[in-house]
């Protein structure tokens, strides 16, 4: 208990110390309340990284970019027995300062021919938008995207061409191979 209190206490005192008594009242009160101490976000992300590395999930991985733990690079490999088998996709995960209360922004960096991804890498996945829960983490996100690869929701597609082609798995597989450009 003491550690938790201390952590929260320190973080907030740095926040408020910056905003100290001499600061003009123009400082909006709402963001001050909403601001999450970066320490707890750091702790959360570090713990997630540890858990992800220890979990040994096959087909997913993620790691922070150089010196910014709020910016991660992830990889997802296509599951076996799907048209995406043998392909690997890079993603970028950008965590907001109020993570995990707000979802990270996840985008494909490798273009992926998929009904629910557009060619700019945007992902249409409810848990990354309105169905986000702070109980989700990087691992569940990546696993969700991985399973979405093999089981797309063709009723509300971002990529209509992919959605219409999904019924023909052989043709779809050819299209995936044709469009697959693994980035170095």
């Amino acid at each position: 208990m003491a550690t938790i209190n201390n952590n929260h206490h320190q973080d907030n005192s740095t926040n408020t110390a910056a905003a100290g008594p001499g600061v003009t009242p123009s400082k909006k009160p709402l963001p001050t309340v909403k601001t999450v101490d970066t320490h707890s976000v750091l702790k959360r992300l570090q713990s997630e990284l540890m858990a992800l590395m220890m979990s040994g999930d096959s087909g997913i991985s993620a790691f922070p970019e150089e010196d910014n733990i709020f910016q991660w690079k992830g990889t997802i490999t296509g599951s076996k027995d799907t048209v995406f088998e043998g392909t690997e996709y890079k993603l970028s995960l950008s965590f907001p300062s109020d993570y995990p209360f707000k979802p990270p922004k996840v985008k494909f960096e490798t273009s992926c021919f998929h009904p629910n991804f557009d060619m700019h890498g945007n992902i249409c996945l409810d848990i990354l938008q309105d169905k986000w829960s702070s109980a989700y983490d990087v691992r569940t996100i990546l696993l969700s995207i991985q399973s979405l690869l093999g089981e797309p929701n063709t009723s509300s597609p971002l990529n209509t061409q992919a959605a219409s082609l999904w019924g023909n798995q052989e043709e779809y597989r050819k299209m995936v191979e044709k469009l697959y450009k693994p980035s170095g």
């Binding site: 938790i4 929260h8 110390a17 100290g20 909403k34 995990p100 109980a135």
Partner: protein, 356 residues
């Protein structure tokens, strides 16, 4: 009611370090959070002490050295204490009384023998008497009141240390009971102390759980007889037991697995299943303390620390485990709202079983 006195009350706690003290003053929100948590823990502790007759006496004795008002208190608590069989609603009310008294003295920083605290304690006891005619429950509320006054007079660390010591002794007792009565351990003793148990004890517990989950009236009676102090609000087999109260088999399902369970992600989909108590908050990954681990804000069983819970209440107020709206806002004291009182009754009755 509670939050009003928070800024005042939390200041003396940080007085150990002058620098921190200044910072603390600025960080009003942190102070509130901390006090919110402290209050919750204090309440838990008080409920623990309630069920420990010996500890209560100690406090009354020490209180008696403080002067005239304590005589009044002592007289109050000298009354027969067989009113342990009061309704759960009554316990809640008593509880509130105790808290109210405490906050009176807190916000006004009145000395121990100030007339305010005395009057309020009298008021508190009056309340409980009128609420439950015939039951002499007043001594309960006044004794808890005297305890919190004592705390405020001394340093706040005292009750925390006391609470830790209490739980430590409970653990010891618990282990001892396991050794001595390993043939037929009363199921109640398996409810709490889930954090530091070995694997064998877990299996032991599981066995007793399955045994007790059978609707056999005899087992329930046996539990009652085992208890030296009869602190049951309702017997498990009581005919007029309210449906809303959690039953025993439900209680056992909560603290089943003491293993470290960082994510507890399974609860996102399988809400109704048995959810083990994680040792760290699945949201912020900070360790759950005693207060947190008995804090069950949602019926789905998703646990999180009080900080994160408060944070979520400030936003959409939905349980991360099941996305349902949190039914209650337990910041203002769980006794007021249905969902909160329900969950806290669970926690409280758990501790009763273990400690009696």
């Amino acid at each position: 009611m509670i939050s009003d006195s928070i800024p005042n009350a939390s200041i003396p706690m940080a007085s150990s370090n002058p620098k921190e003290f200044v910072k603390k003053k600025r960080a009003n929100r942190v102070a509130k959070l901390k006090q919110y948590k402290l209050d919750a823990r204090r309440e838990q502790w008080l409920s623990q002490v309630k069920n420990k007759g010996c500890c209560k006496e100690e406090f009354v004795v020490s209180e008696a050295t403080h002067g005239p008002p304590s005589v009044h208190l002592e007289n109050e608590s000298g009354r027969p204490t067989e009113k342990l069989e009061i309704k759960p609603g009554g316990k809640e009310d008593n509880f509130e009384d105790g808290l109210l008294i405490h906050h009176y003295s807190d916000s006004e920083s009145s000395p121990l023998n100030s007339p305010t605290s005395r009057i309020s304690s009298i008021l508190g006891s009056n309340d409980s008497v009128t609420n439950f005619t015939g039951s002499s429950s007043s001594s309960r509320s006044s004794s808890s009141g005297s305890m919190s006054e004592e705390d405020d007079g001394g340093c706040l660390d005292d009750w925390e240390a006391m609470a830790d010591a209490l739980s430590a002794t409970d653990h010891k007792q618990h282990e001892h009971n396991l050794k001595s009565g390993s043939n037929s351990p009363p199921p109640g003793q398996h409810v709490n102390g889930a954090q530091s148990e070995s694997q064998s004890e877990i299996t032991n517990r599981t066995v007793s759980r399955t045994a007790s989950s059978k609707p056999k009236p005899g087992s329930g009676v046996r539990v009652v007889q085992k208890a030296p102090v009869n602190s049951w609000a309702w017997r498990p087999d009581d005919a007029c037991r309210p449906q809303s109260l959690p039953n025993l088999s439900k209680q056992y399902s909560f603290p089943l697995n003491p293993e470290r369970h960082v994510g507890s992600r399974g609860s996102v989909c399988g809400c109704k299943n048995v959810v083990p108590v994680p040792t760290s908050c699945p949201i912020c990954y900070e360790d759950l303390d005693v207060t947190d681990s008995s804090f069950l804000p949602c019926l789905c069983g998703f646990r999180l620390c009080l900080f994160c819970h408060k944070r979520i209440l400030e936003e959409n107020g939905r349980c991360p485990g099941c996305r349902k709206q949190y039914e209650n806002v337990p910041v203002e004291g769980e006794a007021t709202s249905d969902g909160g009182s329900l969950t806290f009754r669970v926690a409280r009755s758990c501790s009763m079983i273990t400690r009696s």
